[in-house]
C-alpha cells in the first residue's frame, strides 16, 4: 500500500536537508501546475512504497503567494496520508504558526522539532512531551544536519498514516476536540455558525468534518481562493451563503473592533504564546545570539558595503576570472575545440561519410553540444558559491543591504549577483536569478541581465573600437554604461506594465540565523541546477545551432556551399533593409548578427569569412580596412549597440527559457531585448547623423519620437493599477500572464 507523506515547514527550517536525507538520490524535480514553483518528490530510503512530497518553504497558508497556494491546494485536495511539519526549534514561536494551520487540516501531523541541538546549546529547554500533549500531535526531536531523528519522524508519520487509514473517524474527532482551543469562544461561535451554513456543500460532505472546519475559518477570513475552491462563488445559492457568512463576519468584527484576518492571526499567535509559555524555558528573548554578533559587523552601517564588495569580488574572482573560466576554457578550447571534433572527424573520415553529414555532425551537433556543455564548468563553480551564500544566510543580508537601490528599478538586491556574473557569461548569470523569490523581480532580472556585455561580446567591442575608433579609450567603457543604462531604463519601464503589476511579493523578509552549510547540501544544489540547465536549455541550444549551421552551409537548391552563397546570405540580404535605418544595412552585418546568436564572438569570425578570410584574429584585425570602407564610425557604433543589447546567444535564450518556464515569457523577453536594441541603435545613428550635420530626415523624426516615448515611459507613465473591482475578486492564483 502506497503512503504519501508531505514535508511542510518554514523556509530555513532545515526541510530540504531532511528531505535529502530521507530520500537519498531518489528525487524527482518538476513544477507545480501553472506556477514556477519547484515541486520535489522522492521515495523514502529503504521503503519504496512511501512517497515523500516536499512542499515549498512557507510561513503560512494564506492565499497570497504562489508557494502558499500550491501547498494548501495540495494539502486540501490531494490529502497526503500524513504531514511531517519541520519546526525550527530555535525559532519555535513563528514556526508553530504554520503548525496551527496544518493541524486544522485534519491530516495526521508529526512535528519534527529540528535544530534541537542549537536550542540545547543556548541553554533553552523545550519539553517535547508536553508540547505534544498541548498541540495534540506527535513531536519528535531532530537534528537534520547531523542526521538525527529524521528517520524516527518518518516512522511515526507512517504509523499515523496507517492508523488513520484503518480507523479514520475516531482519530479525527478525538484530536479535533483538542484543537478547538486555538481561538476565543466568540470566534468559535461565529465559526460554528459558518460551518452550519456550509455543511450542505458537496465538497464539505465529500471531504469531511476537518475540511468543513478549515473552510469555515478561511471563509471567516474572506479567503476568496478557498471560496472559489469550495465551489461557492458561482451559484445563486452559494452567493446567498456567502452573504450570510459576510453578516456573521462583519458583526463579530464590529464587536471586537478588528478585522477578521487580524482576529484569526492574533488568535493563533496568542494560542502559540500560551503553548510556548507552558513548554519552553527560554532565557532573555532579545539576548544577542552569535548571528546577531556577526550581523553587527556584516550589516553594519559603515562596513556592510565594503564587506559586500569583498564578497562579490571573491565570487567574481573564483567563478569568472579563475576556476570557472579555466573549466569553461578547457571545455570550449580543448575538449570541444580539438579533442572531440578531431576525434569525431577522424572517425568520420575512416567511415568515408558524405560531406554534408560530416558538416552536420561536426559544425552542427558537436558544436551545439559544445555550446551547451561549455557553460557547465563555470556554472557549477558559480552554483557552489551561490548555494553557499544562500545556505549560510548571507544572501538574505545582500537583499537587506541593497534593497533600497534596486527596488526603484523593479529589481531585488539579489539581482546584483546575476548582473555581476553576467559580465563574464550571461548563461550562469541568468541561472543565478534562481535565488530571487519574487516572480516579478526574478523575471525582470532574467530579462535584463544579458544587457551587460559578457565575455563573448568583448571581441565585437574590440573589433569596432579597433577598426573604426583607433586609439580611443571610451568605446569599451561606453559599452558597459550602455548595458547599465539599458538595465535601469528597462527596469523602470517594464515594472509599469500590466504583466509586472500583479502579485508584488512584500519585502517582509526573515534574516535567518547564520550557519555553516554542509558540503553535501551545497553540492546537491549545484548538481540539481546544473542538470536542470542541460535538460531544459540543452535541446533549444542544440536545435538552434543545427538550424543556423544548416542555413549557412546550404543554398536554396540544397547544395553545400560557402557561407557567402548560402541561404543565410540570401536571408541576410533580404533582412538587411530592416537595419538600414540603423545605418548598417549591409548584408554582411545582418548575417554576422544572426551567427552571433550561436555565440556572440562568432560575429567577428563571420565578418572574416564574408570578407574572404578563413582565419582571423580575435579582434578581426585582418579586415579592418574593409570595415572602415563599409561603415561610418557612427553606423559601426550603432551596430555595436544593437549587438550588445539584442537577443543573447541561444544558450542564454535557453537559460531564459529555463528560468521563465513559459514560452510566452521567453518570447516576450527576447522580443523586448531585440526591440529595445533596435530603438536604441536607431536613436544613436539617426540623432548622431542629425547633430553631425546630416540634415533632418524622416529617420531623425522617428528617432525623436522614440526618445520622447522613452522619456514618457520612464518619467511620466503611471504604473498599471488593477481596477478596483478586479482587485477584490482577484485570485492571485495560478495565472502566469
Amino acid at each position: 500500500m502506497a503512503i504519501t507523506i508531505a514535508l511542510a515547514g518554514n523556509p530555513n527550517s532545515g526541510k530540504t536537508t531532511m528531505f535529502n536525507e530521507l530520500t537519498g538520490s531518489s528525487q524527482h524535480t518538476g513544477n507545480w501546475p501553472g506556477v514556477t514553483v519547484e515541486k520535489k518528490e522522492g521515495r523514502l530510503k529503504g521503503r519504496r512504497e512511501v512517497i515523500l512530497q516536499d512542499l515549498p518553504g512557507i510561513y503560512s497558508l494564506s492565499p497570497y503567494s504562489p508557494e502558499e497556494i500550491v501547498s494548501r491546494s495540495y494539502l486540501v485536495n490531494d490529502r497526503p496520508d500524513a504531514i511531517i511539519n519541520i519546526v525550527d526549534a530555535s525559532n519555535i514561536e513563528r514556526n508553530l504558526y504554520l503548525t496551527t494551520q496544518l493541524l486544522e487540516l485534519g491530516i495526521p501531523v508529526v512535528v519534527a522539532l529540528n535544530m534541537i541541538d542549537v536550542v540545547r546549546k543556548t541553554g533553552d529547554e523545550i519539553d517535547a512531551k508536553k508540547l505534544a500533549g498541548v498541540l495534540g500531535c506527535e513531536v519528535v526531536e531532530t537534528c537534520a544536519l547531523k542526521g538525527e531523528g529524521s528517520v524516527q519522524a518518518a516512522e511515526r508519520a507512517i504509523a499515523l498514516a496507517k492508523n488513520n487509514l484503518t480507523n479514520s473517524a475516531e482519530a479525527h474527532t478525538s484530536s479535533l476536540s483538542i484543537r478547538r482551543t486555538a481561538f476565543s469562544s466568540e470566534v468559535e461561535t461565529a465559526r460554528d455558525s459558518i460551518s452550519g451554513l456550509t455543511s450542505a456543500l458537496e465538497k464539505v460532505k465529500d471531504k469531511g468534518e476537518a475540511y468543513g472546519r478549515w473552510l469555515s475559518i478561511k471563509l471567516f477570513e474572506r479567503d476568496a481562493e478557498a471560496a472559489k475552491d469550495a465551489g461557492i462563488t458561482e451559484s445563486a445559492e452559494g452567493k446567498r451563503v456567502l452573504a450570510a457568512i459576510e453578516n456573521i463576519t462583519a458583526s463579530l468584527e464590529d464587536a471586537l473592533d478588528d478585522d477578521s484576518e487580524s482576529i484569526i492571526t492574533d488568535g493563533r499567535y496568542n494560542y502559540i504564546a500560551d503553548v510556548v509559555r507552558k513548554t519552553v524555558k527560554k532565557k532573555d528573548a532579545f539576548a544577542l545570539t552569535l548571528s546577531d554578533r556577526i550581523d553587527r559587523v556584516v550589516t553594519n552601517r559603515i562596513l556592510a558595503l565594503p564587506i559586500f564588495a569583498g564578497v562579490m569580488f571573491l565570487v567574481y574572482f573564483i567563478a569568472v576570472s579563475t576556476v570557472g573560466a579555466w573549466g569553461t576554457d578547457w571545455v570550449n578550447e580543448v575538449l570541444f575545440g580539438s579533442l572531440v571534433p578531431d576525434g569525431v572527424a577522424s572517425g568520420l573520415e575512416s567511415l568515408g561519410t558524405a560531406d554534408w553529414l560530416n558538416g552536420l555532425i561536426l559544425d552542427g551537433i558537436v558544436a551545439g553540444v559544445g555550446a551547451v556543455l561549455g557553460f557547465i564548468p563555470q556554472m557549477l563553480v558559480l552554483f557552489v558559491l551561490l548555494a553557499f551564500l544562500e545556505d549560510c544566510g548571507y544572501m538574505a543580508r545582500i537583499a537587506f543591504i541593497l534593497d533600497r537601490v534596486f527596488r526603484r528599478f523593479g529589481l531585488s538586491g539579489k539581482s546584483f549577483i546575476p548582473i555581476l556574473v553576467g559580465t563574464g557569461c550571461g548563461v550562469p548569470g541568468i541561472m543565478a536569478s534562481r535565488t530571487i523569490e519574487s516572480d516579478n523581480d526574478r523575471r525582470m532580472t532574467v530579462m535584463t541581465t544579458t544587457f551587460i556585455p559578457c565575455g563573448a561580446k568583448l571581441p565585437i567591442i574590440a573589433l569596432i573600437a579597433g577598426a573604426l575608433f583607433p586609439g580611443s579609450m571610451w568605446v569599451a567603457p561606453s559599452a558597459y554604461f550602455l548595458g547599465i543604462f539599458a538595465i535601469l531604463v528597462s527596469g523602470i519601464m517594464l515594472k509599469k506594465l500590466k504583466r509586472f503589476s500583479g502579485k508584488a511579493t512584500p519585502f517582509v523578509m526573515e534574516l535567518p540565523a547564520y550557519h555553516l552549510p554542509t558540503a553535501s547540501g551545497v553540492l546537491r544544489t549545484m548538481l540539481e541546477r546544473g542538470l536542470a540547465f542541460i535538460r531544459r536549455a540543452g535541446t533549444i541550444v542544440l536545435a538552434a545551432t543545427v538550424l543556423v549551421w544548416f542555413l549557412s552551409s546550404f543554398d536554396t537548391s540544397m547544395h553545400m556551399v560557402d557561407t557567402v552563397d548560402s541561404m543565410l546570405a540570401v536571408i541576410g540580404d533580404k533582412i538587411a533593409v530592416i537595419f538600414s535605418p540603423l545605418g548598417w544595412g549591409d548584408w554582411r552585418a545582418a548575417v554576422a548578427t544572426i551567427t552571433g546568436l550561436i555565440a556572440k564572438e562568432n560575429v567577428v569570425g563571420t565578418f572574416g569569412v564574408l570578407y574572404g578570410f578563413a582565419e582571423v584574429a580575435e579582434d578581426g584585425a585582418e579586415y579592418w580596412p574593409q570595415l572602415v570602407a563599409a561603415f561610418t564610425p557612427l553606423a559601426a557604433y550603432a551596430f555595436l549597440a544593437f549587438n550588445l543589447l539584442c537577443a543573447p546567444c541561444f544558450a542564454a535564450i535557453g537559460a531564459i527559457h529555463r528560468e521563465m518556464m513559459d514560452v510566452r515569457w521567453t518570447l516576450f523577453a527576447v522580443g523586448y531585448q531585440c526591440g529595445f536594441a533596435y530603438v536604441i541603435s536607431l536613436i544613436i545613428f539617426q540623432l548622431g547623423r542629425l547633430f553631425g550635420g546630416g540634415g533632418f530626415t524622416a529617420g531623425s523624426a522617428v528617432a525623436i519620437v522614440f526618445v520622447l516615448a522613452l522619456i514618457y515611459m520612464v518619467g511620466f507613465k503611471k504604473p498599471y493599477a488593477a481596477p478596483a473591482a478586479e482587485r477584490l475578486t482577484a485570485a492571485p492564483a495560478a495565472d502566469i500572464a
Binding site: 514561536e93 513563528r94 527560554k282 546577531d292 538574505a396 543591504i401 534593497d403 537601490v405 512584500p506
Partner: protein, 73 residues
C-alpha cells in the same frame, strides 16, 4: 499615532495594530507582528532602508513604508 517607522534603534515597543490591507499586511501579521507582540528595533540598513527588527525571537527586515503601517506604543 506612533508607528514602527518613528522608533529609534534599540527601542523596545509593543504592537497595537497593523493598519493597511492586502497581501503585505497579511504577510506582516503572518510573520508574527500582531497585536501585543513585543518588538526590538535592531538597526537600519546602511542605505537607510529597510529596518531590521527582532520579533518573537527572530530577525525580520521590513521596509520603512511598511513599518509605517504598524502602530506601536
Amino acid at each position: 499615532m506612533k508607528t514602527l517607522r518613528e522608533t529609534a534603534n534599540g527601542d523596545r515597543v509593543t504592537v497595537v495594530k497593523v493598519h493597511g490591507e492586502g497581501p503585505v499586511r497579511r504577510r506582516i501579521m503572518d510573520m508574527g507582528v500582531t497585536k501585543g507582540a513585543e518588538v526590538l528595533i535592531r538597526k537600519v540598513a546602511p542605505l537607510g532602508d529597510p529596518v531590521e527588527i527582532n520579533v518573537r525571537g527572530y530577525e525580520l527586515s521590513l521596509r520603512k513604508d511598511d513599518a509605517g503601517m504598524i502602530e506601536v506604543v
